[in-house]
């Protein structure tokens, strides 16, 4: 039992962590928490099933198509729901505009795809039991994303520009960085990361339109606990959440495990609103 708790816990944890990174990637360049993060994860599964299973594309091509579609959707989100409300960030209109876009995505999927969970194809066909690919794929995807992002942020010019914008928007713009293009690029990147989460976790979560809000919530918890914009915190938080949730799942049953997760989340947040690794809020007056 312990082995299967570990396997499934790490697997869903890795998916949550990736969604957390999706939130962070969007947040870093725009200071906006977007409700679309979970929907991107949901679409990763739906597009994967559509391209590979229904249209019969080879897996690498299907993955590429899935990532591109979601990256495009990320850019659309930025243009439609984020850019128009950035001027008045303090009014929190982004909460409403991104929620609206997220719901549009979710209901369009429900109407055009299916309201029932659809099967997701096997991708590589290696492993069985607790070493089944559905358990290790998300972990590998998560590790690859982290390494890729570290490389991007540390060793490439574009990545450093991202960091500069995240660190100090005004200073970065004063230096002549193309803030708007970088923001769009980061939303595309976030779309791809979210899609990867859904694609890698597709065999666990299936291609199901209602995964969106679920991933939204469970992907947000690692961000909230790890501190906004902190990817390492998101990964640690995501994996811990996955393990805790699966352990509770096995011991007290599915429904009460979500109650347990929710209660724990609220208690931790009330005790430390800025997250376990976050800095306290800035001055107000």
């Amino acid at each position: 039992m312990l082995a299967s708790i570990l396997a499934s816990g790490l697997a869903v944890g890795a998916v949550y962590a990736l969604i957390g990174i999706t939130y962070n990637t969007m947040f870093s360049t725009s200071r906006v928490m977007s409700f679309t993060a979970g929907q991107l994860g949901m679409l990763g599964g739906v597009f994967g099933s559509l391209f590979v299973l229904r249209l019969g594309l080879p897996v690498p091509l299907g993955l590429l198509a899935t990532l591109s579609c979601c990256a495009l959707l990320g850019v659309v989100t930025e243009v439609v729901a984020v850019r128009p409300v950035l001027k008045s960030l303090d009014q929190h209109l982004y909460v409403l505009s991104t929620l609206a876009v997220a719901l549009l995505i979710q209901h369009a999927t429900a109407l055009e795809w299916s309201t029932e969970p659809q099967p997701f194809p096997r991708l590589v066909g290696i492993g069985a039991g607790i070493w089944d690919e559905k358990y290790w794929l998300p972990v590998v995807a998560c590790a690859a994303t982290i390494l890729g992002l570290e490389y991007l942020y540390r060793y490439t010019l574009v990545g450093r520009a991202f960091v500069a914008i995240a660190e100090d928007n005004f200073a970065a713009r004063a230096l002549g960085l193309p803030e708007r293009n970088l923001r769009m690029a980061s939303y595309a990147l976030a779309g791809a990361v979210g899609a990867l989460a859904g694609f890698a976790g597709g065999q666990l979560l299936l291609a199901f339109f209602a995964n969106g809000p679920l991933l939204n919530f469970y992907g947000f918890i690692p961000v909230a606990l790890g501190g906004l914009g902190n990817n390492r915190g998101a990964v640690i938080g995501g994996l811990l959440l996955g393990l805790f949730q699966q352990a509770a799942n096995f011991m007290v049953g599915g429904i009460f495990s979500s109650v347990a997760v929710f209660t724990l989340f609220i208690i931790v947040l009330l005790a430390r609103p800025q997250g376990m690794f976050g800095a306290p809020a800035a001055r107000r007056v």
Binding site: M33, V80, A81, P84, V85, Q91, H92, L93, V95, L96, S97, L99, A100, V101, L103, L104, H107, A108, L111, P213, N216, F217, F220, A224, I255, F256, S258, V259, F262, F265, I266, L269, L270, P273, R283, R284, V285
Partner: protein, 580 residues
């Protein structure tokens, strides 16, 4: 009294509805009434207090299940329907506070998320707790006794409840509680400085909204006659939330129209039923991007009427004297050895300061010398690491900005903090929130003491506006005022408290020469009535004209203190700040 006729017209329409003789319309109209009972409460949270509580369907479900379980008798002897509805409302009030409390600690998006999470959890519990809720199979809803057991009888009952809710929340919206909620939404800092305690106020509103939502839930279960967890989808939550936003923030009529509109929409466009949530979401996006003010902004024609062009600010000394009165004993507010460091930076490094009533005390110094920081320590926004503050001999505890108004300390801000969507008069009335005696229930029911108090406050606010010279602008929306007018409006808000001490943070910034002269005279008169004034300013002329004492700060320390004449010739001050 705000415009009453739209409400009366709606009521007349609703009362005449049985003339259609079509029971299908009774069903839809009853549903609209029930939704409105919930939305009326939610409106206070979302529209007035600006807290994005999205998952309110959870409270509807709690109310519906509580009422149904108690009348169905699955756990105990069945109760009469009205007792069950009452208990449901009480349960909802408790749940409303539990769901709402995180709003006191968490930022917007976090709070929205927790309410969403709560909605999911409640649905899952209703599914899982089969012995009580019937799980997926469901449970019959309560049935009301005659004459409410027919379609039209029940409709009239729900209409009655809806009317009472409209009346009560409108009363609350117009009271000091309603103004305080909007102040929390638009300018939390100004709200705190005016003595508004956010936790207590929000808890009361969450209590009320929770009770209304759960009561609506009980009625909803009655209307459905049989409830399953499927009846409480997230789509319903969305409908409530969007109804408030379509209606517009800070309005009662707008959200009421929004609720009616959204209830009718799927009925009128039956082929679109499957797309209804999609449409709600699209509507939400359009509203946020195109008309953030909602229906209320479209209806509000008076808000667009031009203000007079050639208006000048002319303070009235007589009005000012009547407003503040004369103070007999003169007290001292004193700071001893205050030290405040942000990380390694010692923003204030051991400051002593005595403010006396009846005097204007100038605080000057270069940028970053700690002037505003000192002011923020006095008004409780910063908690110094060392040092003590006393007011009239009694300790003034560090921190606690919302406790300052009760001690008679009022202030203005470097950038005017105003509530743009409220009128100038309402903005000023915020200043005396701490003096309100009438309680939440009195405000809700608009009892005589509440009404009398409102009249007194409105009169005093008019007097304060006359005093600073804005008498003609009382009914204008604050966000249409010029910068200089906002500065004087902030002073009027501070004077509304009839303070013992008044702290002004760069009140002359952005004013014309003529206005600065009037401001100087105004401050002078205020101090002569016995108010202690602390003036942070960069205009050296103003300082030396009107101050009785001046303290010069540099790098967080007192560089010099004394009369204006002494300071003007102080060597170090001249070289560090004034220039030769």
């Amino acid at each position: 009294m705000a415009k009453l006729w739209p409400f009366l017209a709606l009521l007349a329409l609703a009362l005449a509805l049985p003339l259609t003789g079509n029971e299908y319309w009774a069903l839809i109209a009853t549903r609209a009434c029930i939704y409105w009972v919930l939305v009326a409460g939610l409106n206070l949270i979302v529209g007035f207090a600006g807290q994005l509580a999205i998952g309110y369907v959870a409270l509807l479900a709690i109310g519906a299940y509580t009422a149904s379980v108690l009348t169905a008798g699955t756990v105990m002897e069945p109760l009469p329907a009205f007792a069950a509805l009452g208990i449901a409302a009480a349960a909802g009030a408790v749940a409303g506070v539990v769901v709402g409390l995180p709003a006191l600690r968490l930022r917007t998006f976090y709070f929205a998320m927790t309410t969403l999470g709560f909605a999911t959890i409640v649905t899952q519990i209703t599914l899982a707790w089969q012995d009580v809720t019937g799980g997926g199979i469901g449970i019959p809803g309560p049935s009301l006794p005659a004459p409410m057991d027919t379609a039209w009888g029940f409709y009239y009952f729900c209409l009655g409840v809806a009317v009472v809710c409209t009346w009560a929340t409108a009363n609350l919206a117009r009271s000091r509680f309603g103004r305080a909620l909007v102040a929390i939404r638009d300018s939390e800092v100004a709200a705190e400085a005016s003595g508004i305690a956010k936790p207590r106020l929000l808890a009361l509103v969450f209590l009320l909204a929770g009770a209304l939502a759960a009561f609506a839930g009980g009625l909803f279960a009655t209307l459905q006659t049989y409830i399953t967890p499927d009846a409480f989808t997230f789509d319903l939550s969305l409908l409530f939330f969007i109804a408030v936003l379509i209606g517009g923030r800070g309005s009662i009529l707008g959200p009421l129209l929004g609720t009616i509109l959204l209830t009718l929409l799927p009925e009128v466009a039956a082929p679109l039923a499957a797309w209804s949530t999609f449409l709600y979401a699209a509507l939400l996006l359009v509203i946020v991007l195109a008309i953030p003010g909602g229906i209320a902004a479209l209806l509000d024609r008076s808000g667009r009427r031009p203000l007079p062009e050639d208006r000048a600010i002319r303070p009235q000394e007589a009005a000012l004297r009547t407003l503040i009165g004369e103070r007999g004993e003169r007290a001292v507010l004193s700071l001893k050895g205050i030290v405040l460091a942000f990380g390694g930076v010692r923003a204030i490094d051991g400051i002593d300061l005595d403010l006396r009533q009846g005097e204007v005390h100038g605080l000057i110094g270069p940028n970053g010398s700690g002037k505003t920081t000192t002011l923020n320590v006095i008004s409780g926004y910063y908690r110094p690491q060392e040092g003590a503050m006393t007011l009239a001999g009694a300790e003034l505890s560090a921190g606690r900005p919302s406790g300052r108004a009760a001690r008679g300390i009022a202030r203005t801000f470097q950038t005017p903090r105003m509530i743009g969507e409220a009128t100038v008069l309402e903005n000023v009335m915020i200043g005396a929130t701490v003096e309100g005696k009438a309680g939440f229930l009195e405000a809700l029911l608009s009892l005589p003491r509440q009404r009398a108090e409102e009249r007194v406050m409105a009169d005093r606010a008019r007097l304060a506006l006359e005093a600073v010279g804005l008498g003609g602008l009382a009914e204008a929306r604050a966000d249409r005022l010029q910068h200089s007018e906002l500065r004087f409006m902030e002073i009027a808000r501070a004077l509304m408290l009839r303070p013992e001490f008044l702290m002004l943070d760069e009140p002359a910034a952005g004013l014309s020469v003529e206005e600065i002269k009037r401001l100087g005279n105004l401050i002078r008169v205020i101090s002569r009535q016995g108010v202690g004034v602390l003036l942070v300013e960069h205009h050296a002329d103003l300082i030396f004209d009107i101050c009785d004492r001046v303290t010069v700060l540099n790098l967080g320390r007192v560089l010099a203190a004394g009369t204006p004449a002494e300071i003007r010739v102080h060597k170090e001050v001249v070289s560090a700040y004034l220039g030769a």
